[in-house]
Amino acid sequence: MTSEIPIIMMRDIDYIYPNGTEALKKINLNISKGELVGIMGKNGAGKTSLIRTLNGLIKPTQGNIYIENENISSKSIANLSEKVGIIFQNPFHQLFANSVEDEIKFSLKSISLDKEKIQIRTDHILNQFDLEKYRTRSPLNLSGGESKKLAIASIICRDPDIIVFDEPTLGQDAKEIEFFINLIKNERKRSKTIIIITHNIEFAYEYLPRTILMADGQIIADGPTKEVLNNEFLISNTSLVLPQIQQFYFALLEQGFQEVVDKMSKTEMINYLRNILKKRYSKI
């Protein structure tokens, strides 16, 4: 699924907003084709600014961005949007059509498909996202979870190579999150590169292989999620908290339970507790 060829390369990116805020400072980053990467950090760390540079919504003040080895500085937003699909945090910032069906159709019109193909793809995507029942409904009359789903559908339908999600699990219930996890699994099978900004530590810990940690416009860590999110020093500097499993493990160690590993995953924790409880019952 993952190849070593970087699909995204960022070299010495700086971005200063017109009001003087330095949002990005010396960002250097490689993301390979087919990778699934998380971006984490506290509010205002520069996460959203970073992804906005990918489809040209903001142009770096300094530095260069290459997508598939091509410098994107001269490309238009429309041009880049065909390659990079961004699903923003607040679905209502991107939904505006009169009906759910029109929302998808509008998105498809921007990639020069004929009428018949637009209809076929719209029907397919409404079905895939279980939005068929809301076809004629106004996007404004959907619940929070459903409108998020529609926002995702309206980008996925264009089949971009790079898909960027800003807080996709926010306001979603367990079923909707499960749907989202299956969606990213399927998109990865199709060699799509996926970048996810999230505050959801438990989600990142379980599903994202690589995490980039940002603070004050800089990348302060980039590596396997299990390593990055269990580093107490980094966590305390980025307004994150340790994953629940690790917090629970540390609390158990404090009470004298046996130390077995450094960093624990959910499966390891279940096995750890199984052993404790089995030993206890065998003694009785």
Binding site: K42, R137, N141, D173, E202, S239, M269, R274, L277
Partner: protein, 261 residues
């Protein structure tokens, strides 16, 4: 303790454009809107039933303005409730409308600003703020009204984990200090459960269970509903199903540690 009576028996339908009546989502936001009279006074539709407050007032006959000093709501999207040109005016806005004396206004602003830790952004415009800051301003602007019931619709949705934890701790402090009832609609149960006394579970527009936290999370409804259960819950649930664990499923890490001792 103050409480809303009959809330669980209210059924609300949202009028759709095509005239059919249908329930949307599970109904959490709709139920919240019933609690301060926004339904039926602001949102139209077919409404039946009665929401009565501890003081005998009901949400149909009491004007929304009067209800707002008794029940404060912080909405899911703070952008929807922030209107002033700077944060200080935003927080003062509600109090000015109620004709509160200036001295009292500044005392209350000081208190809520310090509780929500937003001293450094008082002269900023609300739309310039990050999501987390906006959420804290929205909470502060409701807190100054000193409501008896504080309702929050997914208050931590836009916050980073550290700030989310801080807001939940803050709400717990407010509850203890001011002895008010706090009702929270929230998806991040791992944060909320350690402080929750009662849980109302909703599905398809109906309240399917309402009871104390320990009882509800150990019940069938909690297990089968599509909720973001805390990792601790799912671990102990697995151990329980394997007949390795017999006690109640813990709601927090300290409880989980205690249960293993």
């Amino acid at each position: 303790m103050t409480r809303l009576r009959n809330a669980s028996r209210v059924r609300v339908y949202k009028e759709e454009q095509d005239g059919r009546k249908n329930e949307t989502g599970s109904g959490k936001t709709t139920l919240i809107r019933c609690m301060n009279g926004l339904i039926p006074q602001f949102y139209t539709g077919y409404y039946k039933g009665k929401v009565e407050l501890w003081n005998g007032r009901n949400t149909v006959e009491t004007p929304i303005a009067d209800l707002s000093t008794e029940i404060g709501i912080v909405f899911q999207n703070p952008e929807n409730q922030l209107i002033a040109m700077n944060v200080e005016h935003e927080i003062a806005f509600g109090l000015e409308n109620l004709g509160i004396p200036i001295k009292e206004i500044s005392k209350r602003i000081k208190e809520s600003v310090s509780l929500t830790e937003i001293e450094h952004i008082l002269d900023k415009a609300p739309f310039e703020l990050s999501g987390g800051e906006q959420q804290r301003v929205a909470i502060a602007s409701i807190l100054v009204l000193e409501p008896k019931i504080l309702i929050l619709d997914e208050p931590t949705a836009l916050l980073d984990p550290y700030m989310a934890k801080k807001i939940i701790n803050l709400l717990n402090e407010i509850k203890n200090e001011k002895n008010i009832t706090i009702i929270i609609s929230e998806h991040r149960l791992d944060l909320l459960l350690p402080y929750t006394q009662e849980i109302i579970l909703m599905k398809c527009g109906s309240v399917i269970e309402h009871g104390n936290c320990e009882k509800v999370i150990n019940g069938k409804n909690f297990q089968t509903l599509s909720l973001n259960k805390p990792v601790i819950y799912s671990i102990f649930n697995i151990l329980k199903n394997e007949n390795l664990y017999y006690k109640n499923i813990p709601a927090s890490i300290p409880e989980a540690v205690r249960s293993l001792k």
